[in-house]
């Protein structure tokens, strides 16, 4: 679909906004609907749109599958790390009050970031793996 001019231009226009909107949903989740899970899915949708229009190879060149595989683990590790750091600071596991005055705020943001990274990576991984199976190029 790369040779389809209108589609290509509009996709290029749209992808930054989809990714930006994912971050809006991520950081605004404390005040409105949304959070890490939804943001991760939206972010993955932006990358998948790129893969659909410009081809799987182009997407894999932009974001290598190895990076995505690392992201799958990194998000969960970030989540666990927040818990362990709270433990080391003298609180209970995942007790954000140990982080000080605005601890709850910071803890929730960090944990949501972990969820975001894992969900986005898993969605992109699933898409890459399935599209890989029947690629024609």
């Amino acid at each position: 679909m790369k040779n389809h001019v209108i589609l290509r231009v509009v996709t290029k226009l749209l992808i930054p906004y989809i990714l930006l909107y994912a971050f809006y949903v991520q950081w605004h989740g404390d005040y409105g609907p949304g959070g890490g899970f939804q943001a991760g899915v939206i972010f993955a949708a932006g990358i998948i749109l790129y893969a659909l229009v410009f081809g799987l190879q182009a997407a894999e060149d932009a974001i290598h599958p190895r990076v995505v595989h690392a992201g799958v683990a990194a998000g969960l590790l970030l989540y666990l790390a927040v818990g362990v750091v709270a433990l080391l600071l003298g609180g209970n596991f995942l007790d954000y009050d140990a982080f000080g005055h605005h601890g709850q705020h910071h803890g929730i943001l960090l944990v949501e970031t972990g969820v975001f990274i894992t969900v986005a990576s898993v969605m992109v991984t699933i898409f890459y793996s399935f599209a890989e199976l029947v690629r024609s190029d």
Binding site: M1, K2, N3, H4, L7, T11, L14, Y17, I18, Y21, V25, G32, P33, G34, I42, A45, I48, L49, A51, L52, V53, F54, G55, L56, Q57, A58, F127, F130, A131, E132, V134, R135, S136, D137
Partner: protein, 91 residues
């Protein structure tokens, strides 16, 4: 409850029903894609009007999400039908 919002939501619901019938009946795959795309657009309207009707304008975040994601779904279906896979790069 403002009367024009009620009119709007009634019109939007009727349109949703008609698009749904077209998506179910087909007959060709292109009719279905067209109906699904229209349905998505009308759903954006439904969510916006519902937000004002119930006095919850933060529902608009959801409408914005649909306005962006509806396009991705349509392109995916088109690509599937034209190329038989989702990986192809060249035409």
């Amino acid at each position: 409850m403002k009367a024009y919002l009620v009119v709007a939501i009634a019109g939007v619901l009727v349109t949703m029903a008609m698009a749904l019938v077209r998506a179910a009946r087909g007959p060709s795959v292109y009719d279905r894609i067209l109906a699904v795309n229209s349905f998505g657009t009308v759903t954006v309207l439904f969510i916006s009007v519902l937000g004002f009707l119930l006095g919850r304008p933060d529902f608009l975040d959801l409408a914005l999400l649909y306005a962006l994601l509806n396009f991705v779904g349509t392109i995916a279906i088109l690509k599937y039908f034209k190329y038989g896979n989702l990986a192809a790069g060249e035409d």
